[in-house]
């Protein structure tokens, strides 16, 4: 068996009962079967399917960017491009908020960086208690396919570091595919956006970091 293979729902991944079924797989009598469409990956004895298309499904600990859609008496409803809207509770804000002044902290239509704090039957809960989280005041927001986020970040952040260095912008990539860019000049921000779109478009190319280095040289030479 190769390390990674494209798999469709209902297809057998491996025969033997030696392996453990991970996410997106199921153990049946004669082997482990895929339940989702994507790449089957074996790590040790665990087999899982990495989905490559479809709606973003949040996981605990993901940093996401969302838009405030509704204000309740005890928090905010935030659209994070998942199948459900997420909830940011007043309790998860690291400072005192007047119960009448929720809209002063974040109003409807504001963008916010938050961390997925928990997922349960009732919905997705967000938190802005860590550093770097909270309302976004400046810069630009762009959107890419959430399944391309790992390519934009690169191995141990190599790709995003390259883009940051070459554009002088500060970039935050939300796992849901929304990206926040701030720089000194609007031109820098737009340049960073162009670079990210280029990465997202070429996400199938191997050795993309080297190719992007070349791309930056060409673009700057213009």
């Amino acid at each position: 068996m190769t390390d990674r293979q494209i798999i469709i729902p209902g297809e057998k991944i491996v025969d033997s009962g030696d392996f453990l079924p991970g996410e997106g797989t199921e153990k049946r009598t004669d082997g482990i079967y895929a339940l989702r469409f994507g790449l089957a990956e074996t790590s040790g004895k665990l087999i899982k399917v990495i989905p490559l298309s479809g709606v973003y499904s949040p996981r605990r600990g993901n940093v996401v960017i969302g838009k405030v859609e509704e204000i309740n008496f005890n928090g905010w409803r935030i659209n994070i491009n998942a199948s459900e809207t997420a909830f940011l509770s007043l309790m998860e804000v690291p400072r005192y908020v007047n119960k009448d002044g929720l809209d002063e902290v974040m109003d409807i239509g504001d963008m916010v960086i938050a961390k997925v704090w928990g997922i349960n039957k009732r919905g997705i809960d967000l938190s802005i208690k860590s550093r770097g989280l909270g309302r976004i005041d400046e810069g630009i927001i762009m959107e890419i396919n959430p399944h391309k986020v790992p390519r934009v970040i690169g191995k141990e952040g190599s790709m995003i570091r390259l883009i940051k260095e070459n554009t002088g912008c500060s970039i935050t990539v939300g796992q849901n595919g929304l990206i926040w860019i701030t720089g000194n000049k609007v031109e820098d921000e737009l340049f960073a956006k162009k670079a990210i779109l280029h990465v997202a478009q070429k996400c199938f190319v191997s050795g993309l970091t080297e190719e992007m280095e070349k791309w930056f040289k060409e673009e700057k030479g213009k």
């Binding site: 469709i8 729902p9 989702r36 709606v55 190319v205």
Partner: protein
Amino acid sequence: MTKEFKRQDGRKPDEIREISAKVGIIPNADGSAMFQSGKTIAIAAVYGPKEHHPRNQRNPARGTLRCTYNMMSFSVTDRIRPGPNRRSTEISKIIEWALEPVVMLDKYPGLVVDVHIHMTQADAGTRCAGINAAAMALAHAGIPMKDLVSSIAAGKLDKTIVLDLDKYEDSEFEEGEGSTDIPITFTGDGKLTHIQVDGHITTEQLKQAIKMAREASKKIYEVQKKALKDSLGGGK
């Protein structure tokens, strides 16, 4: 009986029309696919899982599958009146039932998965093409499924069991006992999720028809599988 049975388009009784499939044809949808069988072309777009509106129809125990079958007004030679009608509402429900056994909706309580199926060309066997396209589109949308489903129509022309009736055989063939249309849907491992019979057939003949359709469904399954895998291998 009729050993040398000739079909109008020269196919053998167990020969299906030429089929092709493509995945990822609608960029805005979460999952999409096209399935073509002869002159019949179906496109399917999947949106969701997403919040279920109207809220009173949501099921808090498990997700809902909502299919919409539609024939484009230009899909047949006489223009058909656009919009839902008795027939399309019924077929929408049938497609839901054909897909529901394989789609694992228990993971999305209170949510809905919308499947829109449009026929851009219709030449009989539209519900089968629709189901085939929808199965691929659902997989492409990343919805967990037990298996893929493949649908094919068996049928009877006079006394001969045939596969994949076309428009002429389905609605104009009048010789002898006339024609019977039996759309059947199979999972990848040959289990049945849907069967309809429109016409007269004996139990023995029905058994034979199911057996023939099961063989043909394997061919369709392979085409669906290849289309799904090709959609990822695009740039690799």
